[in-house]
Amino acid sequence: MTAAVISQPAQPHQPAAAGGGLMRRLNVGTAVAGGVILGLIGWLVAHSLLQDDDHGSDQVVLVTLTCWAVGFMIGIGAFNGPIGWALGRDLRREDELFLAGKDQGISRYFRFTTDHKVVGIQYLVVTMVLFALGGTLAMLIRTNLISPHSHFLNPQTYNAIVGLHGLIMIVATIIMVTGPFGNFIMPIMIGARDMAFPRLNALSLWLIVAAIPTLLSAAVLGGIPTGWVGYAPLADQAPPGMDSYSVFIIIFAVSSAVAGANITTTVLTMRARGMSWNRTPIFVYGTVASVGLAIPAFPMFMASQILLQVDRTQGGQFFVASGGGSPWLYANLFWLMGHPEVYVILIPALAALMELTPVFSRKPLFSFNAAVISIAGIVGLSVMVWAHHMYASGWAPDLNGPFMLTTEMISVPTGLLFLVILGTVWRGRVWTTVPMMATYAMLWNFIIGGVTGIYLSDVPADYALHGSMFVTAHFHYTLMGAGLTGAIGALAYWFPKMTGRMMNERAGYISFWLVQIGFNVTFMGMFAVGLAGQPRRVVTYAHLFATGNLVSTIGAYTIGIGMLVLLYAVISSWRHGDRAPANPWGGKTLEWTVPNPIPLENFEVMPVVTSDFYGYGEEPSTGADGEDAREPVHAGAPAGPAAAVVAAAPVEGEL
């Protein structure tokens, strides 16, 4: 041993950058402890120093929540790397393997683990927890609205729940595809061994975990009375729950920026040899479009919350008209984020459905170019439509015409995506699995969401409908009917690869029908009361709307039961479902070439891509039995010099 050290004088003993004993024991428990301890310290200090200030309670909340988040991130070990570099240490191979969770069993899911597959599973669980929370709140809202004066919730609780439901669901839908599948599946799909920046990957996940308790703290700090939009100056007036909202958004914006930079870099630089842009799967395009759109969008939201915090904690007047500020400033910043954001949610969900439709139709994706151009078109237009949320605000009425133009133009690329899917199923061999049924449900729901969106894009019609339940129903048809349905399809599709087990098909179908029927009942009822003039976010309403609301509530309970069945299907199948073969659906993309369970660095030998992944019907059929010898990928290519280099090179940089 000593001899070995002597023989390597250039490598003096170097302490592990990830730290020794203690640093290696950090997990979610130490993170919570760190957050609580630092949060308490922050609270004590702020409470004693700031309590007498005019804005004291808001300052205390801001300091405490920020300290919680920082303490949590210290406790999880997010700063070990930067501190290590500052001390002049570098990571050794064994540190990297430790960070990636090698041989750590289930405990790696509770740690700052860099393996993209672990992060993907973590994202999946976080997403499901968020949906469970947001869904429970939705059930409370619908229960309250079961009759005009139900008194189930008082107006204060109701407003708080409406805001929390909205924000939790928006965050859940933003991460529901690019989080679990963008992290777990996408790197394998492009033939990479991990993400470009594995530690940033873990950072983006744990920032969200740190942020969720800050949002939930709003429930005990007076709630968020503003709905999820947080409109100022109502937000200036709101109780300290609004500070929870701000801190949450600021942390979430950092997380999405980190994730966006990471995924974009990964796709740009780490695609397998031979994977030119026209051989890159459409899901990869969808993921990059989504996070790429989030990169410019979320800083707007973050900026709005920083300004709001200046208003709330320092007496700033950014949004206070009497002090020279403008509520329209907030609305503009918010919607500069808000409209791209709906496409951040939708594009990856639609891309996942476009990815799985060829597999279950046994046909190439119809008009790949049109799909890519459409996604690009939507991305481009989506940053130019934000003020259609402000037609009735009185801000720049002269711009209503131009914004009507850009908004209606979005229907052209979006319409092409319908053609891509219809063209793919056209004369295909349609295998109606749960994921494929999700595609059909999306075709139904998204048409309704899209057409009702066209009414709202029309300025005079929007004057009549803005702020009514019609709008609520419209965006649930797009974000839930198309977006969440797509994410559920993606989950059912990639479940065998992510868990190694098949999802309970029977429970999957039951859940699918309950959710889809319940969904259409709920939001058709909501369209009806919206057209009749029921405003959004009201705790009580005129008797005229009673029937429609009762119908909506019955539909909502049906969705709730369906979602519980889905939850059962996921949990029970994950624990003891049938073992899945490596390629249960007969897909051609790279993730189906790796064995179950997937080894730590995914590929024994780096794959070389020689064609795209949609060559159904172009080679003798495989019958999709998972033992296909005619993969388009020469995964086990003869170890020529080039292949050997490819296989060996990335080891250092990729963990």
């Binding site: 119809f366 009735a392 605000s393 009806a528 019907g617 019958g623």
Partner: protein, 254 residues
């Protein structure tokens, strides 16, 4: 970028029966959707109380009718594919290797562009028509003030008569000057199809010509805090003579 179309679809003739069947499904769906479009949305919106609302309801009807064949086509192909091209269980063979068919894609894009242009032109024309009331000579001016959680109205040219309910004379253009004392509210006269936000520190305008006698709903359409749901009042459209009487009763003059 990609290779398109790499392989032609040789047995196109065989699919003629498919086109016919899809055509019939499409026609049936289109007829159903058009009937739905003509009757349902406008019935739900209720009888209009102003030319503005009439224009909005005709927009809803026309847009729905224009969207009907498009939605019907998507659903027809989807439904047909589930009937005719459904595989019993796991498929044992691949479908035809069609990677695209340029003419269809181009036609699809062109038709949706034409529809989009139609929507835009319709919308611009409609915008012009509904804003014309503001330019009428001698409109009635009503100052609308939103304060958490009550609407109040005053009539500056009628001796500053104040009211918690809105009274309007029939068939006379009205311009509302809307502002707020605190947070953002949204002034919405439901059956007249007008809405504009009440912003603190600025005055926004909207205008309408009520053309139906009756009592209508004024609601707040922007979440404004604790009692948002109760920030509602009534708008009474009365004959001009009754309006004059009402003004006089409240200490004003016309």
């Amino acid at each position: 970028m990609s290779v398109e179309p790499a392989v032609a679809d040789p047995p196109r003739r065989h699919s003629r029966i498919d086109y016919w069947r899809i055509g019939w499904i499409w026609l049936a769906l289109t007829i159903l959707l058009v009937l739905f479009s003509i009757w349902v949305p406008t019935r739900l919106m209720g009888p209009p109380a102003s030319p503005t609302m009439r224009a909005v309801e005709s927009t809803m009807r026309v847009f729905s009718i224009a969207a009907s064949p498009v939605a019907a086509l998507v659903w027809a192909v989807a439904i047909y594919s589930l009937i005719r091209w459904k595989s019993k269980g796991r498929p044992t063979e691949d479908g035809p290797a069609v990677r695209g068919y340029g003419p269809v894609t181009i036609t699809w894009a062109a038709v949706s562009t034409v529809l989009c242009v139609f929507l835009l032109i319709w919308g611009l024309a409609e915008m012009t028509s509904v804003t014309s009331a503001a330019e009428a000579s001698n409109p009635l001016v009503v100052n609308v003030t939103g304060q958490q959680w009550v609407w109040t109205f005053s009539y500056p040219d009628e001796g500053n008569v104040e009211s918690d309910q809105l009274y309007l004379p029939l068939n006379r253009p009205v311009v509302f000057h809307v502002t707020s004392k605190d947070v953002i509210h949204s002034f919405w006269v439901v059956q007249m199809g007008i809405k504009v936000d009440a912003n603190p520190g600025v005055t926004t305008k909207t205008s309408v010509t009520p053309d139906k006698l009756g009592t209508f709903d004024v609601r707040c359409a922007e979440l404004c805090g604790l009692r948002h749901a109760d920030m509602e009042t009534a708008a009474h459209v009365v004959n001009p003579a009754d309006f004059t009487t009402w003004i006089a009763q409240n200490g004003g003059h016309t």
